[in-house]
């Protein structure tokens, strides 16, 4: 079983690592040999735009998948003529454009926050007046990890946000919410599917910082609600693989924010915290193997290591903490690794998670002082 992976970042790396146990050979296509995947699997240094490179990975693979949603759609379609591509290119296409994504949500009966298609400063002012603050202005395409987005908290933020994003943005989307949760779904080639427990995600500066699973206010009703929405997306897209649906909880209900047609940062907790990790289940799904149990094992928290790494020994000294480093150099805003901590109950988890966060924050402060 050979799996081609477009992209050799940390998600490609963790897919490759999950593949080793199952005897799956992976080959990553990435434009740099310095990528996180390089020490854990074979890397073909090349470009998604180069048909020769695409043909090489197609020829070497039973199935091709991707680790990020900004793979050029042309590359995905070109590959799909030669080899099985999972998730299907239409899922990529839908996820790449926030307006298409939102329209799809609405067509499937997945409520979304109020949003507006904004293409001028006047349009933005009018949308803010109608929808209210706080609000988020995002580019329509190619935004990720807080890049290509601005939070508007006060009327004075409008001009600043517009000035920062106008060159790149197509759509301004404006919303308000209480908190964020995500559901990781997986669907196999034969249509069998499974869902992980809802995870609460906490962002800082637009980047996921902490995830808690099952989410602390978990209820069967909310879980079923989220699963219903995710299932509609899976069916609509004829989806195969792992899909992450990010949701806002707003007044006790769920609103669709965005989805990622891939393994996702909000599912990293599944490596230690679920019976089967999202990475393994993604590989099982795209290869048509039986899916593994998505049950959580106790209560799990995950903290991203962003921009700077704490001393690894300080993290490992925290009982039950597990570290995942991605082999990247430190750089502001960059995801360098993550820490997972597990506990038998929610109260114990919070204590352990707070210790992890304290060590991570201390390293972040030290790095700021050093700058």
């Amino acid at each position: 079983m050979n799996v081609g992976i477009l992209g050799g970042g940390q998600l490609g790396r963790m897919l490759a690592l999950a593949g080793h146990a199952l005897g799956i050979r992976t080959l990553v296509l990435e434009n740099s040999a310095e990528c996180p995947a390089v020490n854990v699997t074979d890397v073909l240094v090349g470009a998604f735009e180069n048909r020769g490179d695409l043909e090489r990975i197609a020829a070497a693979s039973t199935v091709v998948t991707y680790e990020f949603e900004n793979v050029p759609i042309e590359a995905a379609r070109y590959l799909a003529q030669r080899v099985s591509v999972c998730p299907p290119p239409q899922a990529l296409e839908c996820a790449q454009d926030r307006l298409i994504e939102k329209t799809t949500f609405q067509s499937l009966g997945i409520p979304t926050p109020q949003f507006a298609d904004v293409d001028s400063i006047d349009g933005l002012r009018e949308a803010v007046a109608r929808i209210g603050l706080p609000a988020v202005l995002k580019t329509r395409r190619l935004g990720y990890d807080g890049k290509g987005q601005r939070v508007l908290r006060a009327p004075g933020d409008v001009d600043v946000a517009w000035a920062a994003l106008r060159r790149a943005h197509d759509l301004g989307r404006v919303c308000a919410f209480d908190r964020e949760v995500a559901i990781i779904a997986v669907r196999s080639r034969d249509g069998s599917h499974a869902f992980y427990p809802l995870v609460e995600t906490r962002q800082e500066g637009g980047i996921l910082h902490t995830a808690i699973a099952p989410e602390p206010r978990w209820s069967q009703a909310l879980q079923t609600n989220a699963e219903t929405y995710a299932m509609r997306l899976l069916d609509h897209l004829d989806y195969v693989g792992v899909l992450a649906l990010e949701l806002f909880e707003h007044n006790g209900g769920l609103l669709g924010n965005e989805f990622a047609p891939r393994v996702h940062n909000s599912g990293h907790w599944t490596i230690e915290g679920a019976e089967t990790s999202q990475f393994e289940n993604h590989l099982r799904a795209i290869l048509g193997l039986p899916l593994g149990s998505t049950a959580a094992i106790g209560h799990v928290g995950m903290v991203n290591l962003i921009g700077t790494l704490p001393p690894i020994s300080a993290i490992l000294a925290i009982p039950h903490a597990r570290v995942h480093l991605y082999g990247k150099r430190e750089r502001s805003g960059r995801k360098l690794g993550h820490v997972t901590v597990r506990a038998e109950n929610g109260a114990e988890l919070i204590v352990r998670l707070d210790r992890v966060i304290a060590v991570v924050k201390e390293a972040e402060r030290a790095a700021e002082i050093a700058d």
Copy 2:
């Protein structure tokens, strides 16, 4: 952090995989590029007897370790003059000779089964008459996985066993026991140490077939007894790393059988079944990092895949089964992979484990018929 590993079999492979998460670069020295480690880390194809190869791995490593105990002692000592070698060469030396090993156990107050130093057929007959049957005749050096040993059940087995082993054997050891358990211990550079819960191991044809942790008749008294014995070994050998102590339970007490100065098959269950795997804790220990929790997560069973592989989809269809393949070709008696299954209680575990064993046995029977 760079770790050199002597040997690139499945243990080297799983050490390398555990290292990736911690940002540890591993380099394996192995005599074939076809080894299980080859797809998961860098492999230096060379020989333990070649000083140039040893110098290369020493130069590339912060610390050198090994994945099997039959590394030539000269190689370990040569390396130790150049780089930190863990576990220390004296642990290798002790484990390589069954007579020295047994004598060490006795000197540390670790009881052993009755044994005899046998170097002739007459000596073997006399020892069998004195000690009784069933009994095991083993070579003094270089035996593993049932190789270099014969079980004697009836007086007629004596001549056959002697004929099979006489060229290679130095010591005949003869014992009787009720069942086998093992304790995985880990000791760090600063002397801190930890023990995993006792695991019951079941052999077939001298090869580990099934392991259950915590062992089904687990008691704190037995655990403490095993930890006491393991601690004496760790201290005596000034040990750093993971050590597996295999024990016979006999009339409710424990007898030392043998120890392995390395990660061990009876600890594979720790990947999914313990807070920190034996592989990660071995790396933490030899690098002087804080040890991780050795607590079991529920109840765990492990089944080796020996000689032939069942269809992977048949294994993955068993709820909660996790597969680890080593990338080896099928061959009689060869360890090709293992399956782990976890449950919240012992009764549930037995049900799940029986399903795994049934699938594995069916594949073994099918392979026998095909032969």
